[in-house]
């Protein structure tokens, strides 16, 4: 695995592109109940931004910036938040949408038929989108980091007996 990364042009463009890619991923997650997209798709886009940083900068510099423990903690937090939101609707059933059409936070009713959507609708669906998006982004970045970082110890060992 490369330790120094690629040339200076690639590094500059990768730094410039990281912020728009992350904002695009967050936009796809946040509008999941209005346009095509949602939690899984937006989480994969955010993981692409971290993969771009890994390829352009090499494993030595990324190791100082992002750690494995942080990504592992956010992945667990995402799954716990998803299960907690499912348990909160336990008044009627498990996974019931108790915020839709209720008038409070995220509870506006929408007219039937074709309409431009509003974000303030659809109950627990935007909250679940965020939880799943954070979980998928952290999981994919963690797998990439594991394969990259474990290649530093071998050095000149070359993989054992032939």
């Amino acid at each position: 695995m490369t330790e120094e990364g690629l040339s200076k042009i690639v590094r500059t463009v990768a730094l410039l592109l990281t912020a728009p890619i992350t904002v695009l991923g967050l936009y796809i997650i946040a509008h999941g109940h209005l346009t095509p997209g949602g939690g899984f798709q937006g989480g994969t886009v955010i993981a692409t931004a971290i993969a771009l940083m890994l390829v352009a900068f090499g494993s030595k510099r990324v190791k100082k910036a992002v750690g494995k423990e942080v990504l592992s903690a956010t992945e667990s937090l995402g799954l716990i938040a998803f299960i907690a939101i499912a348990f909160l609707g336990m008044g009627s059933t498990f996974f019931s949408n108790f915020l839709a059409n209720a008038g409070g936070l995220l509870g506006m009713s929408i007219p039937s038929g074709a309409n431009p959507g509003t974000i303030n609708s659809a109950g627990t669906i935007p909250l679940m989108n965020f939880a799943v998006g954070i979980e998928v982004a952290s999981a994919l970045s963690l797998v990439l980091l594991l394969i990259y970082f474990s290649g530093e110890k071998e050095g000149k060992k070359g993989g054992g007996k032939k």
């Binding site: 299960i83 499912a86 839709a100 059409n101 929408i110 109950g123 679940m128 799943v132 963690l142 110890k153």
Partner: protein, 88 residues
């Protein structure tokens, strides 16, 4: 495995695919499904979401999404477990 066995497996797969292709309905005319008709007609007023696919994934079929998120979590923690010896 010899290459005759491999070619035989591939030929058996082709045979079963052709057999299945004769039973399919034409493209664009699926069977009438009462569940999908109910979701299209009533989905917008029950879940207040414009995107019916998100409403199906997170509201009508939320249990499948819970299983899928757990499978992804288990696979990634399995990969973490495999690399523990190299990272110490």
């Amino acid at each position: 495995m010899k290459s005759f066995t491999k070619a035989l497996v591939l030929a058996v797969l082709v045979f079963f695919l052709v057999l299945a292709a004769l039973e399919l309905r034409p493209f664009g005319m699926p069977q009438k499904s009462a569940m999908d008709d109910y979701i299209i007609v009533k989905g917008q007023e029950e879940t207040a979401a414009n995107n019916l696919v998100s409403a199906v994934v997170f509201d009508y079929r939320g249990f499948d999404t819970l299983g899928e998120a757990t499978v992804l979590f288990a696979a990634v923690s399995g990969a973490y477990l495999l690399f523990r010896r190299e990272l110490k």
